[in-house]
């Protein structure tokens, strides 16, 4: 077996990756202890990893090392941050309001103008494009998002969808036609979004299968074949024990 060609940590990593992938996939059969192991490991490792990175990046790099250099600026946000912890001491819990006021005030002040500019003004600017522009290529050029044809489609879509959500008048007659047009636009939008979601999920499946394929070789000590067999045997035993009523849940 040419497993010695791969460094031990890479070999171990491959076995862990294959094992956990198969444990998670085993849920497609039914909920089982192997899936639970994979699920709990994922949660635990994610939290552990986050704590370590936050400790190093935030406390050590941005606070401690700066203080050691004689820069005491980070002490101010540290104090504001610590005020949040006063929530645990009822007598001085009111101090946490200072921290929350800072977070809300700063967050709103930074986010509101930028969000209005980017999400509202820029989008309105693009929606109210002239319907017919001179010398900008063919009106019917569907591949060009700025073509006249697409601008008309955007206009009809925006007006009809907005009208669909306008409930102050009854949707009958011409109003019903406009509202129904809005529904069609919404349905096409949802369809496109769902199509992309399916594509995305399939890509994730392909990614896992590609890894299983990569680690199936001799250089990884046949991780996929060995662990797939082990998973199937474990599930079979678990099923048999369950039918006999001797399984520990």
């Amino acid at each position: 077996m040419p497993a010695h060609l791969i460094p031990t940590e890479a070999l171990f990593g491959a076995w862990v990756a294959v094992g956990l992938t198969l444990f998670i996939f085993s849920f497609l059969y039914k909920d089982n202890p192997l899936f639970k192991i994979g699920e709990h490991l994922y949660v635990g490792i994610s939290v552990g990893y986050t704590v370590v990175i936050v400790w190093y990046t935030v406390f050590i790099r941005l606070v401690w090392e700066e203080i050691k250099k004689g820069n005491y600026e980070p002490v101010i946000p540290v104090i504001i941050g610590l005020l949040i912890l006063t929530r645990f001491i009822p007598k001085i819990a009111w101090l946490s309001r200072i921290a929350f006021a800072f977070v809300v005030g700063f967050g709103s002040g930074v986010a509101i103008p930028r969000t209005i500019s980017s999400y509202i003004l820029k989008q309105i600017e693009d929606t109210v494009n002239p319907l017919v522009t001179m010398g900008s290529g063919s009106f019917f050029q569907l591949a060009n998002p700025q073509s006249g044809m697409n601008t008309v489609v955007v206009l009809i879509g925006v007006v009809s969808v907005l009208f669909y959500f306008f409930f102050s008048i009854e949707h009958t007659g011409a109003a019903n036609t406009i509202a129904r047009t809005g529904i069609y636009f919404l349905m096409i939008g949802f369809g496109a979004a769902f199509g992309y979601t399916v594509m995305s999920r399939m890509s994730l499946l392909i990614g896992r299968f590609r890894d299983l394929q990569t680690y199936a070789g001799g250089e990884y000590a046949y991780a996929t074949a060995v662990l797939l067999s082990a998973t199937i045997v474990t599930l079979a035993l678990w099923e048999i024990l369950g039918r006999r009523g001797t399984r520990l849940e």
């Binding site: 790099r61 986010a111 969000t115 980017s118 989008q123 496109a192 594509m199 399939m202 890509s203 590609r210």
Partner: protein, 278 residues
């Protein structure tokens, strides 16, 4: 026919899982080599990178974690290969804490493949808290936001960052995003304020929501999902995992379309039966 339709409608869903597994696995083992058509939004990103002069500052933000790796890793690899081939100075970072070491490993792997030196040709800054506030801080002073890189080397005086004070000195930025803490955040707090050109690469799930930004010119290009990555790999003429996965993607889509049509036929056959939808 009705009895058959009834039986098929209540088929064990695990059979469908097996069909999808087969449709995924077969093309991976024996690829068909289906052609890949490049879309204008992906070509726009490629063209912009292609036109950047040697030594320009290319910023790649890895705004994803391992759960989006199959879609966004091929995009990152293709973009890095292109940028390194063009001898651009590459700066990388991530807004997604769980993706930090994944981003670092992608960076290190592609840089080693292209014989690029850390600190001289590229730098990976790692993760820092703040999101939008961090972008604003980087727009004011990159070195205060990131006093050291992911490998704990001081950023001040690094050859790759020569002449770079803040985000205004970035020539092109691409955010590879799996959620709103990515392309949208970079646009809202970065491009709109500090006036650099930017594009996005995204998972398929969030791609439809980004098309309004593309149409309005807020981003100049968009690489969407595995398909987008495959298109970029085709453009740089270096096929990778995305092109290899596209046959499986097409096969999966064919199976899904076939099953949806078939299911509708069965429902149509049983349309007058009560409780037909099991």
């Amino acid at each position: 026919m009705k009895a058959f339709a009834r039986r098929m409608i209540s088929i064990d869903r695990r059979i469908i899982f097996l069909l999808i597994a087969g449709a995924t696995l077969l093309p991976l083992v024996r690829p068909f080599g289906l052609p890949i058509k490049v879309s204008p939004e992906v070509k726009a990103v490629y063209d912009y990178v292609e036109e950047l002069p040697k030594g320009s500052v290319f910023f790649l933000s890895f705004d994803f974690d391992p759960s989006s790796k199959p879609e966004l890793e091929p995009q990152a690899v293709a973009l890095l290969r292109h940028a390194f081939r063009k001898n651009l100075r590459v700066i990388g970072m991530t807004h997604w804490l769980p993706g930090t070491s994944l981003a670092d490993s992608i960076f290190a792997r592609v840089a080693a493949e292209m014989h690029k030196v850390p600190g001289k040709d590229y730098v990976f800054l790692g993760w820092s808290p703040g999101g939008g506030s961090l972008i604003i801080a980087m727009g004011q002073d990159l070195y205060k936001a990131f006093p050291s890189d992911y490998a704990k080397r001081p950023t001040e005086g690094m050859p790759v960052l020569q002449g770079v004070k803040n985000l205004r000195d970035v020539n092109y930025l691409v955010s590879l995003a799996a959620g709103s803490s990515g392309i949208e955040m970079w646009y809202v707090f970065g491009k709109d304020k500090y006036r650099f050109e930017m594009a996005g690469g995204s998972t398929g799930v969030i791609a439809p929501g980004l098309y309004p930004f593309l149409r309005s010119g807020q981003i100049n290009g968009l690489i969407g999902g595995l398909q987008g990555a495959a298109e970029y790999e085709t453009l740089i003429k270096q096929k990778g995992t995305a092109v290899a996965g596209m046959d499986a993607q097409s096969a999966d889509h064919m199976v899904i379309i076939f099953l949806v049509l078939l299911c509708n036929v069965f429902y149509f056959v049983l349309r007058n039966e009560k409780g037909a939808a099991v």
